[in-house]
Subunit: 417 residues, 2 copies
């Protein structure tokens, strides 16, 4: 049994036992937070290809590879998105934070936990709620916002010269109704897993590990389900969401649509841009509109997901057969592809209206947001039939560095090169 | 293949197809909402026993039996709790609502959906987001609050004489900090499933079906995971939560702890009381306290879940070995058992403090809340070491009627006898 297999077959509890038996101690960071020493390491470099989907709860997705995990990885069922504001005053402190985060991401991806605590007089290194739980295909994906590089005109960490070409906030759209408290940030971490408790555990410990170096701006949780057969998941309007991803799901397609180009700074090689929009969906309005109105809004049939005039979900859509303001027609007309990885959210009752507070956490990855995403957003915000049923309430744009080799930390080639 | 097996093996899509092929039409309720006709019916009455846990996504839990499902049913991973305020002006309207809800509960429990829509000029009967998804062990559990029977001294629906013996709001506790907008209600529906999208679909359609007859007061979502091995799940403090349920998990135990007594009104036969407390947990404070403090707070070891001085999670706890204010010691001293079925919640960042907004949706079922729960709550609110880390922010008490036979609707023996 090689290390890789051994690690994959290990429960968190076994992991702890092994940690104890080989005498790995607690490393206290300068922040006073306990950091972890990883015990079992993967024996082979990852290929950067998306692992095939697996619903086995102990399936793991490697942290290491040409690209970060959680981008073209088949979508897991649960997501947390956390945005941080750095309070670290110098580059060395940022490096410390990113090192700690990387160690913890490695451990969590493998289904391990930090020690519960050798010393009863200290806080446990790990919060413990996943001690009995498997890795559940956990991924952690990191992105840097524009203010990571420059804030109020100031080059905070001496990296302003390495700003990626297209990293800026999404410009204000005609129908935006953004909440600045829920938008943007210096760093964004996307955590996904097949089990919400596993995902929350990771995001919570990322927050803990940031104590003294960063504070959390906002935290969003989402879910999506394509069922055990892995069908294209449906959004809360009951329509399949992400069908168009099939148009670029090949190495060549990802290169054209997702991975940053050669003119980007070196550290963006294998990286991408993550766009985020929190879109409130007016479910009560939608649910009272007729099936014809709903299908006209998308330009697709609700049950099959096929484009108007077509039979199958993946049959090539013909915009001419759809209403002029149909969502899918506008997306086609923009002639741009993006890689969608959205989640639904629900957030109780809006006490102002008595309606359910719910919608879509739109997440897309693209190599050039200015060419791919922003024209599409503009077109849609001006003409999309969906506007009647949806309001954009938060926004973010982050540059995700390329993947890691073991021993590296996330962002190392940006902060050290 | 008998009907029962056939129904269990059917996807929602098959279900739809069969609905169409046998020509079951859309029945429009007087409220203008489309109600559904069930197509395939279970062939044998359920026993009222909890089905053994199954992680198969298409596993179903029967709606029918001596008791409602979702009470002693092994806990699913996701829950929505919805509270409604009835606006129906007469008993007949309440009956119509409960009939529609029961039909939909039956359909969802079996993995079916309402029709997406025969008539494109009408809104689809079903919102559609589970068209491709299995039943995922969905259960819907209904409870009636004190104001269902009497509001402002008025016998709203002519049923005040059938008020259960112990149905009243939980009295104000010394440390309560309750939000009235998130507490109480005329009717509460607990929806649980192994897939959050399946659970949300059901609660959303319960809300839709109530249009004109009720409005939703509040909606809470939660998650919990014991992992694939079905271990006692851990709460967000990292401690196992629900270990003491093992003390009464037998037919005799449930009779003593959960099911309403013979002196209750007839319709409560096989029923119980559902108590709800939303408990904000101060994770940041907890995470900085030492392992010794954390374990002293519960009186149990964090990793194993064993009581102080014991080895195994289920070894009989000895209060004398625990600190005088330990949570488990106080629970033992109250000498009362309750059936716990709690979920964790996370709700973004509290913008007032910058801390994560998270905690426990405490749900317990008991035959007599005045004897079992309320003394325990009082004792704990006055002395429990946990008070330093938790605040009760919402509350509710609901009487859950007994189970159903096919053809009955929930609450029928209350509203018609």
């Amino acid at each position: 049994m090689d290390h890789e297999n051994k690690r994959q077959g290990m429960s968190r509890r076994d992991f702890l036992k092994i940690s104890a038996s080989v005498g790995v101690g607690l490393a206290l960071g300068a922040s006073g937070m306990a950091a972890v020493e990883k015990v079992v390491s993967p024996s082979k470099p990852a290929t950067g290809e998306a692992p095939s989907g697996s619903s086995a709860p102990d399936a793991t997705i490697p942290l290491y590879g040409e690209h970060q995990a959680g981008i073209i990885t088949p979508q897991q069922s649960y997501m947390y998105l956390a945005s941080f504001r750095l309070t670290a005053s110098d580059r060395a402190s940022v490096v410390r934070l990113l090192r700690d985060w990387t160690r913890f991401a490695d451990l969590s991806s493998a289904g391990g936990t930090m020690r519960t605590g050798d010393n009863p007089l200290l806080p446990p290194s790990d919060t413990g709620e996943t001690l009995d739980l498997p890795a559940a295909r956990l991924t952690a994906t990191f992105g840097f916002g524009p203010t990571f590089f420059r804030q109020d005109g100031k080059d905070r960490y001496g990296i302003a010269g390495k700003m990626p070409l297209y990293l800026k906030d999404i410009p204000r759209m005609p129908r935006d109704n953004l909440d600045s408290l829920l938008s943007g940030g210096d760093v964004c971490v996307q955590v996904c897993a097949e089990d919400q408790q596993v995902a929350f555990h990771a995001v919570r410990n990322f927050i803990r590990l940031s104590t003294g170096l960063a504070t959390v701006n906002w935290l969003q949780e989402g879910f999506i389900s394509g069922g055990p057969a892995g069908q294209t998941p449906r959004n809360l309007f009951g329509f399949k969401d992400g069908t168009a991803n099939a148009l670029h799901q090949s190495a060549e397609g990802y290169r054209d649509v997702v991975w940053a180009g050669a003119s980007e700074p070196e550290w963006m090689r294998g990286g991408t841009y993550m766009a985020y929009r929190k879109i409130r969906m007016l479910l009560e309005v939608w649910d009272r509109s007729s099936l014809a109105d709903q299908e006209d809004t998308f330009g697709r049939y609700k049950e099959s997901g096929a484009a108007y005039g077509k039979k199958g979900e993946f049959d090539t859509a013909d915009p001419a057969q759809m209403p002029i303001d149909a969502h899918v027609r506008l997306a086609k007309e923009s002639k741009r592809l993006i890689h969608r990885r959205g989640y639904s959210y629900t957030d109780g009752v809006d006490q102002r209206t008595g309606n359910v507070n719910a919608g879509l956490l739109f997440v897309s990855f693209q190599r050039n947001p200015e060419e791919q995403l922003i024209p599409m957003l503009k077109l849609m915000q001006s003409r999309d039939a969906l506007n009647e049923y949806a309001v954009h309430i938060a926004s973010g744009m982050f540059a995700c560095p390329g993947g890691l080799r073991e021993g590296q930390y996330i962002g190392q080639s940006l902060l050290e090169a």
